[in-house]
Homo-oligomer: 343 residues x 2
């Protein structure tokens, strides 16, 4: 498979950051893949309040670390000058550097020189693999569930990771498939679908969830929104190439308009379900919605319970806020709808 | 506007080719833009049977030629070694070279060196402009008509060029807008939409048909097909970004399945109309179909007339083969549907 691949275990680099909200990539990697994180590396004054020891490059090397993950964003998305000594030291110790920053790592001379010398790799999760194919539309084996959104930034990645965790707990055979940069860092592989050349969107999506055993589920991170004035082409290609058996609609309870596109009212959840099924049928005639995931941070607990109950009655679907109690009822629905996919 | 731009007038380079079907870019430029073509340049034994004088680089320079257009494809899509003397001579005479070949022109050392020395440009119509924006979805002034297809290669570019010609004949204010490489060469500008990074498809489509006067029509070349298993993301982004007032469905009467994707039956023209309206309404609530363009090359004349008559009755739309009698009835429909857009 020609997706980006990151070697585990990881050392999370957080610079001088101390706040997990600011260093959300690093904090997210520890939240979702603690077993792959050996330690965190901070500059003077930095360090996240998470259960990962602060390590030097030498200690990380000793502990078997294969990749240093840049887990925090600097102002402007660049690599600050004062990080370079540390990053160079890591490369010279044979540790790969992984980042999703705006400037490409291999355009920073000290880093490309050190990588060339040591053989360690510079992995830029915003750069798609080369020579992607055009989508074939051919049916693949195994099962797939795609996150789709009423908008961008409504919890598609979080929902996919929560579903993966809860499906694993239910003894299902499952893999999270990342289609965006933070997801790729967490999964250790994937393709940044929004950075792919237009002709190859669905081909890249096909690579992301290859043939698998009949009992296997790919939980695919969504991108954009099928009604989005800027990004619907990405969402369309990802949907067609993913050929999902099932999908979950992700929605933010506080949103009325497309974020940043204030002239565009948000589509209803029903609209998103209808269009996703209509388009998805081309590559999977059995596609169906199995639940709704709500970011309910604008609601208090009483409001949230009422909102989820009303929505569930209206749509006849399990509706959850994955942050408050997980995705268990959606997992139950998946098992009920696809009994042959259970081990 | 940051689209590709080609300087007229042109010298059409045809290598050793003598057959207009093989040199279809060169022949197409002369067919649709004869007023911009000063001559053709052939190597020993070459030359198209069209009404364009064979010219040397020196004669072309003398005649005011600004761009040499590579109007024929070589085997494998490369630039053959034996073309380089001529191309270098053109560059040194200050004439730009324009091509849509697989290997980038600026990666051919003799050409990039000559261009650097003379200041002439190497223009690769398969390379989109840099720094494209994300689509805003904002309503633009002027009118737009988009070609959409039941498949790729069903005559979308030809139909758009025929419509432009017939609308001009009807004294309408109109411009062909090219979204693919051959179209860009013919139009002298445009953006190769299928080569744009996924996030910017609809943003690029917005640039392609900018604000204009109320009586002005952009006739936009389509790409792919909204039901295509490989390219529907491109078609979706182009549709959303083009915000067309009207569209024409292009179809090949002899096709039953998506070309090259034999497991996929072709969508019906009705399906394409319905989905195009459903998606197009997001950025233009008044979108409507104004006609159907048929490539009827598999039918004899009697069959063609019957086919077009039946189709027209079934859809209640003007249906034409633009190669056999033009697009006049579609132009009439546009004028009837949009009376305020007539001068």
């Amino acid at each position: 498979m020609i997706t980006i691949e990151i070697k585990a275990p990881y050392l999370i680099f957080v610079g001088t950051e101390t706040n997990p909200t600011e260093a959300k990539t690093g904090a997210g990697m520890f939240e979702w893949r603690p077993e792959l994180c050996k330690g965190q590396l901070a500059l003077e004054g930095g360090g996240l309040p998470i259960n990962l020891p602060i390590m030097s490059i030498a200690e990380a090397k000793e502990a078997g670390v294969k990749s240093l993950i840049i887990g925090t964003a600097a102002i402007g998305g660049a690599i600050p000058e004062q990080w370079l000594d540390t990053l160079e030291e890591a490369l010279m110790a044979g540790i790969d550097i992984v980042a999703g920053v705006h400037k490409r790592l291999n355009q920073i001379e000290r880093l490309s020189a050190a990588a060339l010398k040591s053989g360690a790799e510079l992995i830029d999760v915003r750069v798609p693999p080369e020579d992607l194919p055009v989508g074939t539309g051919k049916k693949r084996t195994g099962k797939r569930i795609l996150m789709v959104g009423t908008d961008c930034a409504v919890g598609k990645k979080y929902t996919a990771l929560a579903l993966e965790k809860d499906m694993k707990k239910a003894a299902m055979n499952v893999d999270f498939r990342a289609s965006g940069q933070t997801g790729i860092m967490i999964a250790g592989k994937g393709i940044p679908i929004d950075a792919v050349v237009a002709d190859f969107i669905s081909g890249a999506a096909e690579l992301l969830s290859p043939d698998n055993t009949d009992d296997h589920w790919d939980v695919i991170e969504g991108q954009g929104g099928i009604f989005h004035p800027g990004y619907s082409g990405v969402s369309m290609g990802l949907l067609v190439g993913s050929q999902p058996d099932a999908f979950v609609v992700c929605h933010d309870a506080g949103r009325t308009h497309i974020g940043g596109w204030d002239d565009f009212p948000l589509p209803s959840i029903e609209d998103v379900i209808e269009r996703t099924i209509s388009i998805g049928r081309q590559t999977n005639p059995d596609i169906r919605c199995v639940g709704v995931s709500i970011n309910s941070s604008v609601l208090d607990e009483g409001q949230r319970l009422e909102y989820l109950r009303d929505l569930s009655a209206r749509l006849n679907l399990p509706c959850v806020d994955p942050l408050k109690g997980g995705t268990g009822v959606i997992v139950e629905r998946i098992k009920a709808e696809f009994p042959s996919s259970i081990l």
